[in-house]
Amino acid sequence: MLFNSLDFAIFLPVVFLVYWFVLRKSVSLQNLFLVAASYVFYSFWDWRFLALIVISTAMDYGLGLAIGKTDGRRRRRALLLVSVVVNLGFLVFFKYYNFFLENFREAFTVFGYQLNAHTLDIILPVGISFYTFQTLSYTIDVYRGQLRPTRDFIAFSAFVSFFPQLAAGPIERAGNFLPQFLAPRTFDYSKAVDGARQMLWGLFKKVVIADNCAEFANTIFNGSDGYGGSTLVLGAVLFAFQIYGDFSGYSDMAIGMARLFGFSLRANFAFPYFSRDIAEFWRRWHISLTTWFRDYIYIPLGGSRDGIWKSVRNTFIIFLVSGFWHGANWTFIAWGALNAVWFMPLLLSRRNRRNVGTIAQGRMLPSFREFLSMAATFSLTVLTWIFFRAESIRHAWDYICGIFSNRLFSMPEVHPDKSIAVLIALFFVVEWIGRADLHPLETLALRWRRVFRWGLYLAIALSIFWFGGREQEFIYFQF
């Protein structure tokens, strides 16, 4: 069930009304209902894969309790290892089995051996990369003693399967999210209104920006051999808008929706295309995954504590793992490696935390220097996205060569119509105005007279209705 579907337009109000009107006096019943609703939501894709969620939930619940009761370090570590192996085992099997097999087979062929193993026709369960990391964070935090294991199985199940963020995050930490399922929840009008505004903006990003850009980006990437340089540049830029609108739009809807149910999810995007360097970009893009890798891989590996070269090594590891997390293809690994390369000059010159605050804070426009930094960072990001979007390394390389081969300064052969171009421009203006907030509509128009404020919301809603592109699945569902 997609957030931008008619099914969901019926599903959400029903769940909301039952949750607040029928079950508001009992946290346990609310949690139970959320679990049921989440499983129904997930079943719209494929009910068979619910078993994976249930197994992960039951196992990590049990292991969490066992780790909490156990004092012996070796036994605690063994229990954690079970959680890691089983969770990552599912992930590896469903996501990477064919990739490893094909690469092993090719490697054996190079040395003159034939590996008689066949790839399997495996369907990737939606959201597996997200809920696996979420539930893993629980057992790791319990193991580290940072979190007391919960005895409430229903609350834990709701934490793992909470439908707004089940399919594509944000990846929540048990320390932040699980306690919210244990405490009584009251309806907060201002939070709910803000959540609705965030959902509206998220839907706009997904349906108007991402889906419209997708049509042209797909056309250009799928036929990249025949297009000139300017068209290929436009294709890469449109893909950058697409993936941002798609993923951050989903996150906005998830966060806004969670607020309707009385939950607070952590921010997942903080206007990354206004970043002044790659380090800042990675503090603003897919924050929940980046910080997950930081806390559970980068820091345990030593982080930046043991000298610059270990820091370089750890940074590369993080980016490569991040790339691999996105998919079983060398293109994602190349994408991660390129990001690490762009990161290196900042790390080696110890300037990776130079740009921490909001760009042009308190000013309407950026300085010329800020603008150049932003443009350069965006250009590097767009170049890197080519690897992310391409079907293969060869495709990405040919695409980049195509950009510089010919017709770089001619008019693009394929481009969105004027109305879509205007909406993309307006989208950037609104994002720029709201760049210091959690989402652009958090404070925008709040001081306007009600009629104008509602007019803005209606204009956004009508834009969604009228200019929505062809319905496309969320990109991050494949991860």
């Binding site: 709910a192 209104v193 509602w454 919301y457 209606l458 209705f465 009228w466 200019f467 929505g468 319905e471």
Partner: protein, 308 residues
């Protein structure tokens, strides 16, 4: 919470009100007025759209459109007749391809719904909308945003529907010899079954025109002698005689044209359209439409052309 739900409902109602308002304005306030010197209206699909040059044919307005089923032609024709009292004759392209069962896809296929419904939804009656919903609810629901967007666009264009409901659009290409050779050697494939929805709506269009005292004639535009649809001649004639025996049928299908006058086996190109339209114009100017034995006049003229 009640305040939140109330405001959400109000916002939803305002949104729905705007969307419905645009639709109603298009339904009731749209302009379908054609020039008073046009007493003949031509409806149909691409055969007619590509062949009948209404800048050459006196008193005629061509509103045929490619891929349009009679299901969608009906609300267009009905509205044109209702809003233009000067229309005396409605010519409806009636050819082999329009009687076969396959043509019902032109009613219910996703791409036809998403293309036609935005334009015709405001003037369609409820039973037709209901039928379309029953045939393909997913496509109808998916097209609602396009319908609403088109309503807004038409409002900005002054609600003038005349430029968007068809017209003479010539083709500039010429069929190549390879395509002709391929068509010539292709085995004739008779198609089974008769159209249902399309013909039902043709019935309704004929009935409505007659109720408004507008004369209805079916016309058949020439196609190439190797056109695959000619294999359905038997079915076509049986439907025509059994179901539309009371509607005058003017068959222009044998108008002599060279291979270079066709864009493909089903459609005339610009050159063919010019020759055909000039001939039609001469027939009309010599009183074809006022005569009693119209097909006889056409056949005589065709015989003279063939003897040249």
């Amino acid at each position: 919470m009640k305040n939140f739900i109330l405001k959400t409902l109000i916002a939803t109602a305002i949104f729905a009100g705007i969307v419905a308002g645009f639709w109603l304005v298009n339904r009731w306030g749209s302009r379908w007025t054609i020039s008073p010197d046009k007493q003949i209206v031509l409806l149909g699909h691409s055969h007619a759209e590509r062949a009948w040059d209404d800048t050459v044919i006196p008193g005629m307005a061509n509103f045929a459109e490619s891929g349009e089923s009679y299901f969608y032609t009906y609300p267009k024709g009905r509205r044109l007749i209702d809003r233009n009292r000067g229309i005396e004759i409605v010519l409806i392209e009636f050819s082999n391809s329009q009687v076969i069962a396959e043509i019902d896809e032109w009613v219910r296929a996703d791409d036809h719904i998403s293309y036609r419904l935005p334009v015709y939804a405001p003037v369609m009656d409820w039973p037709s909308l209901r039928l379309l919903f029953d045939l393909n609810s997913e496509a109808v629901i998916g097209t609602l945003p396009l319908v609403s967007k088109n309503n807004a666009v038409m409002l900005m264009r002054g609600l003038d529907y005349i430029p968007v409901i068809g017209g003479f659009h010539p083709l500039d290409e010429t069929i190549d010899s390879a395509a002709l050779a391929s068509a010539a050697t292709a085995p004739a494939r008779k198609r089974e079954g008769m159209a249902t929805f399309g013909l039902d709506y043709l019935d309704r269009l004929v009935a409505h025109a007659r109720s408004k005292r507008v004369e209805v004639m079916f016309v058949r535009t020439p196609v190439h002698r190797h056109a695959p649809e000619l294999a359905d001649e038997e079915l076509f004639q049986s439907v025509r005689k059994a179901r539309y025996g009371d509607v005058e049928f003017l068959d222009f299908g044998r108008f002599p044209l060279a291979d270079t006058d066709f864009a493909d086996t089903g459609h005339l190109n610009r050159s063919g359209a010019t020759k055909f339209s000039e001939w039609i114009a001469s027939l009309i100017e010599s009183g074809l439409l006022e005569a009693d034995d119209r097909q006889h006049i056409i056949d005589n003229s065709l015989a003279r052309l063939s003897n040249r």
